[in-house]
């Protein structure tokens, strides 16, 4: 089966009684055979969007499959394999019959369905579990059965709604690898809903960030992290210092002084986005800042700095490096890696340095 291209056009959705719409004029392209991570904070409408793709929820707008309008097509005719956060295995059926469920509903005979179910169970490394009841499975096993069940009817799209969130961290890693392997092997157009950037980067080819009812940015994980299109995206993607100033011909000028920025970064009135990795400890660096705290994490050392203009910077230094003590000055250089500019915001706080760093990190989502 060839992979399908999915497009969402102008999707509007508002829950009854809700003040603001969940999705407002959302557009998203899901190229054939790719895996796209749908990233966003809790309650941003990621799962709602997935239900709309699956046909389980109606919304204004258009869903196109290879250019054909499938907006009005019922869930059971969409050929979408769906795995939710909970495995949702049918409690009255054993594992093999759960996997065969979609095949039986499509009129495939018992023995053919059983054969196909056995194949799928082998694919998810549960070849021996066919006769077991759902209640006898661990969380990770149940979720693998749910994946096998979703894939059994050879769906045209695979929709995964935070399928790893309920699993233990160790099992989560294995399941993540399994999903990625299967997606690459089958080349099935896949949407993976998550609030975890790391998970998004590891499973998907592309990441689409859903904020305020729209796709704020879609691209590779590195694009979103290093080349955000807005201050909002920059803030969501992790701790960053945002410094107001101007970008004229690739040189940023602001309270941090003159900083060269990569070509292609927006010009004019901008905010300079400084990721931690842009701040590099370098005895020959051209800048100095005062060390305010040193945290030895074992695998790395995190150093808090106060720049000349009073801004808080954070940098990570490899373990064992010689560092000045707290209160002393440290020389460093800025970039060029992990520097970018975004258009200045009007009326919104442009500087997050007044926030507690821990608070900023927390908003970047759980890393596991």
């Amino acid at each position: 089966m060839t992979a399908v291209h999915l497009e969402l056009r102008g999707i509007h959705q508002r829950y009854p009684g809700a003040v603001a719409p969940t999705l407002s004029g959302l557009d998203l392209d899901l190229p054939a055979g790719t895996a796209t991570a749908l990233l966003g904070p809790s309650g941003c409408g990621k799962s709602t969007l997935l239900s709309i793709l699956a046909g389980l929820r109606s919304a204004e707008g258009t869903v196109l499959l290879d250019g054909i309008d499938i907006t009005g097509v019922a869930a059971e005719r969409r050929d979408a394999g769906v795995v939710f956060q909970q495995p949702l295995l049918f409690p009255h059926l054993n594992v093999a019959d759960n996997v065969a469920f979609g095949l039986r509903r499509r009129g495939i005979g018992t023995s053919a369905a059983r054969r196909r179910a056995a194949e799928l169970l082998e694919l998810v490394d549960l070849a021996d579990a066919g006769a077991r009841r759902p209640a006898e499975l661990s969380g990770g096993q149940a979720q693998r059965v749910a994946l096998a069940r979703a894939l059994a009817p050879a769906p045209r799209m695979l929709l995964l709604d935070e399928p790893l969130s309920a699993l233990d961290p160790a099992i989560r890693t294995r399941m993540r690898d399994l999903i990625r392997r299967i997606q690459r092997d089958l080349r099935i157009t896949t949407v993976f809903v998550t609030h975890d950037q790391l998970e998004a980067a590891e499973i998907a080819d592309r990441t689409a960030l859903l904020l305020d009812g729209r796709i704020a940015q879609a691209g590779t994980a590195a694009d979103l992290h290093l080349r955000p299109v807005s201050a909002t995206v920059a803030r969501f993607m992790g701790p960053a210092l945002l410094v107001p100033g101007r970008n004229d011909d690739g040189v940023f000028t602001g309270s941090l002084g003159a900083v060269p920025v990569p070509p292609g970064a927006p010009r004019g009135d901008v905010l300079l986005v400084v990721r931690d990795t842009a701040v590099q400890h370098d005895p020959h660096g051209d800048r100095t800042a005062t060390v305010t705290a040193v945290h030895d994490l074992g695998s790395a050392i995190r150093v808090r700095l106060r720049a000349a203009d009073g801004r808080e910077l954070t940098t990570t230094v490899r373990p064992g490096a010689e560092l000045p003590g707290v209160g002393a000055a440290m020389t460093y250089r800025l970039g060029p890696h992990a520097l970018w500019t975004v258009p200045a915001e009007h009326g919104a706080p442009s500087d997050t340095s007044h926030l507690e760093p821990a608070l900023i990190e927390h908003s970047s989502g759980r890393r596991s």
């Binding site: 699956a54 389980l56 019922a74 869930a75 059971e76 949702l88 059926l93 469920f101 509903r105």
Partner: protein, 268 residues
């Protein structure tokens, strides 16, 4: 060895418990059984002096008796079917959907269990007479639904509450239509509760006397009416005993069939 000893002791306790229950349920029926095979059984005889099967053959040969048993069975089946269907819909809605005025609806559902049947039966009769539903089986079926639906609704609401409503959404994504999703996921998952609800409704209808007398107005004769009349003096002790025992057959048969059905494993 320990486990064997423990399981053997468990089996012993189980057998004892079953025996106690069997005696508890069976013992009161024994005099009825004896009475139904004799004409006279006087004090201080431990057992009747003369045995006969004429009581039973008379019973089977009386058209009214057979007809009353059949009427009861048909009415009870129809009541059980409708009460189970209503209980499925109401139980589903109350357990799964955000229903406006839920508390009021729930109170209405259990109201027939709280209000004395005699109080409601009078009002129901007036309404049914005006609607032309009195004195006929349809009216009796509707009247029996009043005490039956609360039980089926409560039972099936509990069954739905123990099931994730998203199972049906999952079934939809696997190619099942809305009805097919209910048929292949929800219903099989709550089958024991559906069987229990059906059985309850059947038994409620089967033993319902008051509603039948008032709404049926004597034109619809069911088994309890014959039994009550016979016990009240129109019949002999022997005939009443046989009638009481005959009335046990349909419910017991239903229990056996339902038990067998709910044990049978069914593939996809």
């Amino acid at each position: 060895m320990v486990t064997t000893a423990v399981s053997a002791r468990h089996a012993g306790v189980r057998r004892l418990a079953l025996t106690v229950v069997a005696v508890w349920v069976g013992a009161p029926l024994l005099p009825l059984l004896i009475w139904s095979f004799t004409r006279t059984w006087r004090y201080p005889d431990l057992l009747p002096q003369a045995w006969t099967t004429t009581v039973w053959s008379d019973l089977a040969a009386t058209p009214e008796t057979v007809r009353a048993l059949l009427t009861s069975a048909v009415i009870a089946m129809v009541v059980a079917a409708f009460a189970t269907a209503a209980g499925l819909a109401a139980g589903r809605a109350l357990a799964w959907y955000r229903v406006r005025g839920r508390v009021l609806i729930e109170l209405l559902v259990i109201a027939p269990l709280l209000i004395p049947p005699f109080a409601s039966a009078m009002g129901v009769q007036v309404v049914f007479i005006r609607a032309g539903l009195a004195d006929q089986p349809v009216g009796v079926v509707l009247a029996h639904l009043i005490p039956a639906v609360p039980y089926t609704t409560l039972l099936l609401r509990a069954a739905h509450a123990g099931l994730d409503p998203r199972l049906e959404a999952q079934a939809r994504t696997l190619g099942a239509g809305p009805i097919s999703a209910i048929r292949h996921t929800t219903l099989p998952a709550i089958r024991p509760a559906v069987a229990a609800a059906f059985g309850f409704a059947f038994l409620i209808s089967w033993s319902e006397y008051l509603m039948t007398v008032i709404i049926g107005g004597g034109s619809v004769t069911t088994w309890p009416m014959l039994l009550f009349a016979s016990a009240a003096g129109t019949g002999t002790t022997a005939a009443t005993s046989a009638l009481a025992l005959a009335g046990l057959i349909p419910p017991v048969a239903l229990l056996v069939v339902a038990g067998a059905l709910s044990r049978r494993a069914r593939p996809v």
